[in-house]
Amino acid sequence: MNTLYIQTQGTYLHLDTDNIRVEVEKERKAMIPLHHVESVVVFGNVLLSPFLIHKLAREHKPVTWLTEFGRFMARTETPVSGNVLLRVAQHACACDMAKALSIARFVAAGKLQNQKVTLMRSAREALDNDPELLRQAAKEINAQIGCLPLAETVDEVRGIEGTAARIYWEVFPLMLRQNRDFFWLTERTRRPARDAINATLNFTYTVLANDCASAAQSVGLDPQVGFLHALRPGRSSLALDLMEELRAVTADRAIITLINRSQLTPRDFVLHEGNTVTIKEDARKTILAHLTERKKEEVTHPLTARKTPLGLIPHVQARLLAQHLRGDRAHYPPYLHR
């Protein structure tokens, strides 16, 4: 379940019997038993010994290399992942309008349901007029959910999702109760982020998207061939599809919690000339530590009815999708958070 994140520049990771030895400037900083580690994510200038890479590959534990600021660079491909029949079925479904539409509708439904749940949960804790505004937004998202079964093309599904996103982001700052004058959000912007919330969202989504891409790859799916997200060179469309259901309940919820507990404050950000914002290294550590804790939290999966750590949900969903694509399951069931 645990992802080992290494951010400190110049770190060297070795295999030491069945442990990962973490060294910084030739000084031993930590010994982490391999059986505690499910995957390794390294940021920037971090070295791994070949023996460690081999050992991790043999145990199907992916290594992901990101830039210092979290942009995806590379991921190991381990020996058994890759049922070629599954990939052929995935590509065939992506080309089949009716099947792609059905999956896209369910993915979007999962996303909107979980946005709704997140808004309603925050409404219970919000102050003043905010609960009413949050509930109102949840009702409006409900109206969009009602439109989903009527969508006749994937483009229409994307339109509905876009409308829901506008409703959601408009009220997003109302879920924050600390440092409101600093944490504001006018619109969602990708890189470079123009405000602290966008910077935090971008960073958290990168980490989550990487988990989803690893999950897709480990069940043998092609992370690049998605259904709701358009195919685009270099884009992990399927990873983004899998992430949709988890954005609100994992990433957004984490950010809301960290800001409301004042674990993220204005001091954690650097405001650059020309209106761009970056997150300081310690704050990135805080975010990663919180996400790691959150991944261990167990939820009851609505379909399997099993208690599952939140961090395993991308794997469960990737597997359920693979079953649908190979004809083992009539529909793709999105993850609906409770």
Binding site: P149, R319, H331
Partner: protein
């Protein structure tokens, strides 16, 4: 010419056709406590080549093939009796499985050995490491039939590539692929699971 069928696949198929399809068609494999223990044991059993003790030779990790039946694989242990006749011994970490899965695998090994050594083999052994006991298995005509039925079933599985439905019975508790198989999860949306629901819960 038909593809050779792996002896281990016969065991998987007899135990559960879906497990067999997951491993040999879907290429799903997860290690769990059972398989890890089995792996260790196999590594030990396959460690040495041939050893001789009291007139009996023990061959480990012997490659097996039957061109007549279209089977291939590797035997954990084959004992060569003083008269030169081979006898297969299959090592199992767990207890005896239902549905004669291990017996079918053992019998298939014997059918390969009969062809390779031009002999008749009437019985072999399954060694259970949990109890440190070996038990004799008679290669009856029925068991030999079960081997060929399983082989044909696997050929059909590899041809159609369709995943059979889950067994969803007591076998599943013994299965290392339970998580991947999801035998008890509904095959479609269960009651009350509605992604398009517009209920607003307070």
């Amino acid at each position: 010419m038909e593809e050779f069928i792996m002896l281990s696949a016969l065991q998987h198929f007899t135990f559960c056709p879906r497990q067999c399809a997951l491993i040999h068609v879907e290429q799903v494999w997860t290690e769990n406590a059972h398989t890890a223990r089995g792996q260790q044991q196999h590594e030990r059993a396959h460690g040495g080549g041939t050893e001789e003790r009291g007139g009996m030779r023990t061959m480990r990790a012997l490659p097996l093939v039957s061109r007549v039946h279209g089977l291939m694989g590797v035997a954990d242990v084959v004992e060569l009796l003083p008269d030169g006749s081979p006898r297969p011994v299959e090592y199992k970490s767990g207890r005896a499985k239902p549905r004669l899965a291990d017996e079918v695998q053992l019998c298939a090994q014997a059918m390969c050995l009969e062809e390779m050594f031009a002999c008749d083999i009437s019985a072999g052994f399954i060694y259970h490491s949990a109890s440190h006991k070996r038990r004799e298995v008679q290669f009856t005509p029925e068991l030999r039939h079960a081997v060929l039925d399983a082989r044909d079933g696997i050929r059909e599985l590899l041809r159609t590539r369709v995943l059979p439905l889950p067994a969803a019975d007591a076998r599943c508790e013994l299965c290392s692929l339970k998580d991947e198989c999801e035998p008890f999860a509904p095959r479609d949306f269960p009651r009350g699971f509605d992604p398009f629901s517009t209920r607003l819960e307070e």
